[in-house]
């Protein structure tokens, strides 16, 4: 990713790195700031978790449970999702289609 005429002098490496970083430095700093904020919070939280590994390691299938949940508790979001997909379809086709005539 370094510049094309790579010169392997120390100065040359520093210059190339600098040129690469210059437009990205703000993004990096902001991303690191964000990461730091999140990580500090994540590591200083006592997350609740189960005491032991779930039993029955062989049969870890969640499919049935998920299916039941989708059609009981989360039937409303499921239905809304149907409308979402329909409108995404419509919107995407409308936007992507070329000239009518």
């Amino acid at each position: 990713m370094l510049n094309k005429e790579v010169s392997f002098t120390l100065m040359g490496v520093i210059t190339s790195v600098y040129n690469y970083l210059k437009p990205r430095i703000l993004g990096m700093m902001v991303a690191f700031l964000f990461l730091a904020v999140i990580l500090v919070a994540v590591f200083s939280t006592a997350w609740p978790s189960l005491d032991q590994i779930p039993q029955n390691l062989e049969d870890q299938s969640n499919i049935q449970g998920i299916g039941v949940l989708i059609f009981t508790e989360f039937v409303v979001p499921f239905e809304i999702l149907a409308i979402v997909l329909l409108s995404a379809l419509m919107g995407a086709i409308y936007m992507a289609k070329g000239d009518d005539k």
Binding site: I83, V84, M90, A92, M95
Partner: protein
């Protein structure tokens, strides 16, 4: 379970599908009828909602609840959608994609309505995305117009970013509480309260909702999108989808995350002050009326956010009432702009900025009804008495003072004094600056939509008691667990 509880939503879904299907078989020339059909459907949904006022129920395993708050906001959304559909009749005239326009608008409204009645973060997030996705395409509806496309692109990218932030925040809340149900979250706040994660989650959620509400600094898309998108769509965005962010924030922060009150009150105090000041100051020298309205809409979002800071029943009621009033005022103002844009484009097809304030010169003579309505809307936005804007501001600001946040009220009052400058500028252009152009006949659908909005603004302004009572009832839902 009584399906009648969902009659408005079901009506809307059916209307949307009907519009889409019928539209496929109609020739371009007769697609006008779709707009009437959509308006009719929305009107029926509105009647269903109004007739079910006062019901109180939860459905679908407690994921959806119907109460005074959700019904209040549903009516806001439906009224805005109605204005959108009526004015859309004129806007889509001669367009071969009318059915997409109305169906997307109706679907977006369904999303907003489900956000208002969501009692579970999954429902809330999915419905939130429905409203977003449908409006992304609407913002870019004029796909030959680079401004409209740019508006859609910016809206989409910042929207996706905020959806990701929102989902990220929700994931932490889910992790810490083990549930997504709003009342259950409120009962399991121990982990979040005792760790810095609470604050991070709150801010991530504010970023997610603040995108819709257009709070500084999550507002960056709003001026560009409101300006670039078709005016009718801007009306839907500013008046409808913004309220969706507000009601979502009400539900999540005040009901679910009340234990983190200290954190988000400070956050909202900071954002409210920055937002209203920034919005008002930047609006001062805008030349595009739509952009000016967008910044004014920022300022209004700042005022509404004061309700989160004050958090008394009266302030919340004021904020909710403000949402209704703002729905009428902002939708009306954008539709009036749409009428002007229509006028400019019908005179000069290639006009690049048809909403430039110069096009408002002498509007009082050229389009008297539009100009008069616009005057009422901007005066209402500025908070001149006898309008909805005044009553809402009065309730909100006086409750702020009552709760002891005098500094906040002072900032807000100073801000609304500044705002008068740019509102008066529009009136000056419309009535006091001469024009050489002729009077033109005003398009009927726009006029009807404007008159409905004017009636709304004035009725709330004159006969405010029931509206205040009603919004206070809605506010009670937030503060008293389990409703009234």
């Amino acid at each position: 379970m009584d399906l009648m509880l969902f009659a408005p939503e079901i009506t809307l879904v059916l209307t949307g599908l009907a519009v889409l299907l019928i539209g496929l078989f109609l020739p371009t020339g007769s697609k006008n009828i779709l707009g009437y059909l959509a308006s009719l459907g929305i009107l029926i949904a509105l009647l269903f909602t109004v007739s079910s006022l006062g019901t109180q129920a939860t459905a679908f395993y407690g994921t959806v609840s119907i109460d005074a708050l959700s019904q209040f906001f549903k009516i806001v959304f439906l009224v805005v959608a109605l204005l959108f559909a009526i004015s859309g009749i004129k806007y889509t005239e001669g367009n071969s994609h009318t059915e997409e326009f109305f169906t997307l608008g109706i679907f977006a409204t369904i999303g907003m309505m489900f956000v208002a009645s969501a009692n579970d973060l999954v429902v809330l997030f999915v419905a939130f995305e429905l409203a977003s996705l449908a409006t992304y395409a609407l913002a870019g509806f004029e796909k030959k117009n680079p401004r409209s496309l740019e508006a859609a692109m910016k809206y989409f990218i910042i929207g996706s970013l905020s959806a990701a932030l929102l989902l990220f925040g929700i994931s932490y809340i889910y992790g810490a509480t083990g549930t997504t149900s709003i009342p259950a979250i409120a009962a399991n706040m121990d982990v979040l309260v005792s760790s810095p994660m609470g604050l991070v989650a709150v801010v991530l959620l504010i970023a997610g909702f603040g995108f819709k509400i257009a709070l500084v600094p999550f507002h960056m898309w709003a001026p560009d999108t409101y300006q670039g998108a078709p005016s009718v769509v801007s009306a839907l965005l500013a008046a409808g989808s913004k309220k969706m962010g507000i009601v979502a924030a009400f539900k999540v922060f005040i009901v679910a995350l009340i234990a983190l009150q200290a954190e988000w009150q400070i956050a909202f105090a900071i954002l409210a002050v920055i937002t209203m000041t920034y919005g008002n100051i930047v609006a001062l020298n805008q030349t595009s009326v739509k952009r000016m309205l967008a910044y004014s809409s920022l300022a209004q979002a700042g005022y509404i956010s004061m309700a989160f800071v004050v958090l008394t029943p009266m302030a919340l009621g004021g904020g909710i009432l403000y949402a209704l009033s703002h729905g009428f005022m902002k939708a009306g103002a954008f539709i009036a702009t749409a009428a002007v844009v229509y006028m400019v484009l019908s005179e000069n097809k290639d006009s690049t900025d048809p909403d430039h304030i110069d096009n408002f010169r002498g509007l009082g003579k050229r389009m008297p009804v539009t100009a008069l309505s616009m005057t009422i809307f901007v005066f209402a936005l500025a908070g001149i008495p006898l309008t909805a804007g005044y009553i809402s501001k009065f309730v909100l600001f006086s409750s702020t003072i009552q709760a002891g946040f005098v500094w906040l009220a002072v900032i807000a009052i100073l801000n609304s004094a500044i705002s008068l400058y740019y509102y008066a500028k529009v009136v000056k252009y419309m009535y006091f600056l001469p024009t050489n152009s002729e009077k033109i006949s005003e398009p009927l659908p726009y006029t009807i939509a404007l008159i409905i909005a004017v009636i709304g603004v004035l009725v709330i302004g004159f006969w405010s008691e029931p509206f205040i009572y009603w919004s206070m009832e809605a506010a009670k839902v937030l503060l008293i667990p389990g409703g009234i």
